[in-house]
Symmetry: C2
Amino acid sequence: MKVKKAYETLKLKDPVKLDSGKYINLCEIAYKTFGKLNKNKSNAILVCHALSGDQYCTGINPITNKKGWWNILIGPGKVIDTNIFFVICCNVLGGCMGSTGPSSINPKTQKPYGLMFPVITISDMVRVQEKLVSSLGIKKLFAVIGGSMGGMQVLEWATKFNKKINAAIPIATSYRHSAQNIAFHEIGRQAIMADLSWNKGNYYKNKTNPKGGLSVARMIAHITYLSETALQRKFGRNLQNSDFFSFNFDTDFQIESYLKHQGSSFVQRFDANSYLYITKAMDYFDLSVKKGGLPKVFKNTNVKFCFFTFTSDWLFPTSETKIIIKSLNSSNSMVSFVEVKTDKGHDAFLLDEPEFHATLRGFIEGQIIQQRI
Amino acid sequence: MKVKKAYETLKLKDPVKLDSGKYINLCEIAYKTFGKLNKNKSNAILVCHALSGDQYCTGINPITNKKGWWNILIGPGKVIDTNIFFVICCNVLGGCMGSTGPSSINPKTQKPYGLMFPVITISDMVRVQEKLVSSLGIKKLFAVIGGSMGGMQVLEWATKFNKKINAAIPIATSYRHSAQNIAFHEIGRQAIMADLSWNKGNYYKNKTNPKGGLSVARMIAHITYLSETALQRKFGRNLQNSDFFSFNFDTDFQIESYLKHQGSSFVQRFDANSYLYITKAMDYFDLSVKKGGLPKVFKNTNVKFCFFTFTSDWLFPTSETKIIIKSLNSSNSMVSFVEVKTDKGHDAFLLDEPEFHATLRGFIEGQIIQQRI
């Protein structure tokens, strides 16, 4: 039996010019679609994934055999209803789920790129997404939606290709990465690069993925995705295996066990070099240095914005989003904004948050009426 | 010229029994004193250091050739006035500045302990401190003071040896380590243990200190010592070397350079195994599991408490200290408490914070009058 490939691939014939000035030849974009594109091609929603995400935003992820990362939100009858919408989700440029990235074969050398892969930006990711959307014959997206790094891509779409989108839904994100965010990312990168098996990025041949370093990087990041309150409620100081301390360096506390599991399961599905490139792209992101400052970035835009933040998200706090809102309001843009009260931290955007889902449903329904799709 | 030894050493003849049930034979405690012990031996202040601290709390640290870590607070005419007080500061048990720890020679094997060193607790640290204080002929300390892990030791003194201290000054600390604190520590330990040169703790012979892992551990911890606001103000998104991104994985941002410096300078002066042991001791710390819960821990104490917290300290937030205050108040204890407004984060306890210093001066002066030293 021939197994159907788990995703589609767009092969770009022309080289992709990057922000760095470099080019990627024979660039490929791995993507999934859900639902059907209507006759007018007016019902397409682009879903942008976060740092550790992929194109499997709903249904079953064939790599992990678990539900897609936004399965709770996307599907038949769900908030992003695939009976109504044609959902597109692609693996970002630089990723490791089929799109061209550092683990891909470099056409010049016929070996994996490793650090020969050019450093990319959020803008570069969006540039190839636009090529994918165009290749599907879609002139204007009904909406672009994403959380965290996905939200950065949404904001980039709203500035770079604002004529090609109707609505932008940035969630738990910011117009730039803060010093603290950069700090956490840099430590993750240092952990990977300190792992001897990383071997300056050349580990593919010997299959020595730097698991130790990547696992530490994932654990660091994971703390920032959760609120202190949620950690305390979920784990507190609960012990893992007994009523007593082990008095050794194995696992004493449940929080330790949880983090180690996060680390070890992540290294099974993620490429360490991709982690370096994608975190760097996030660190470089700063809309405020574009086009003469944030107030002018969205000037005269017709995009309808709907922002979401979460009260306990300390990675992308509400205060950051308010700065964008202020700029958008000063340019008379159409902006909705909801700060959802939750103690689940940054990860709330992936979880069952009724207020978030209800408000998003309302916004989308309103746009369906306005756009008459 | 004969160089004077930089510190004194107390050699304990009797084995030290630990919380784990194990013993340390021939235990040594490295310490420094500043000022003179008065005739009544009533003017001694024990200063307890934090995770990365040492006995060089004032004057010049001969290892780093920099000022001692609390030089701003301790010295002639300063808040802790060495013209008045006899200040004692010892390297904690498990440390690497002269006190017995994992890098010390195990009398049984005549080789460095490594992971043969028993896991210790804050209570074990305090147990040997008390032996040091007794050995100096001091029956009652004027005060015990410390920040962060130093504050944990202060709290432990106030429960374990409350008859032997007049005042307790716990600063930027808590009665227990939270889930988030444990999480950050565990990741630091994982970073060290993932470093191949750690070699299960046996790196002394070949002098392969696991610098990469220890440096990452220090960088992780360092972020938690600073507030997001301070990071943003101090570094923001400022670039290190140029007006442009490097588009490689060297240092782009000043915050990256700063963190790397923190990591690389730390590994010059600190032992990786000591880092494992001391962080574990902090993680184990929880006064609330003692003696039937926190409300009873300080019952009928005569110790005068003076607590300090800092508004932007997210490692040991004020809310944690308030829980102790509540317990102390319910047992009718003598408690002062000041929350100092600052954006400098946890590290504020080491910095020039006028409100903190002025209040501490006031508390100490009040105690001088009360105690008639």
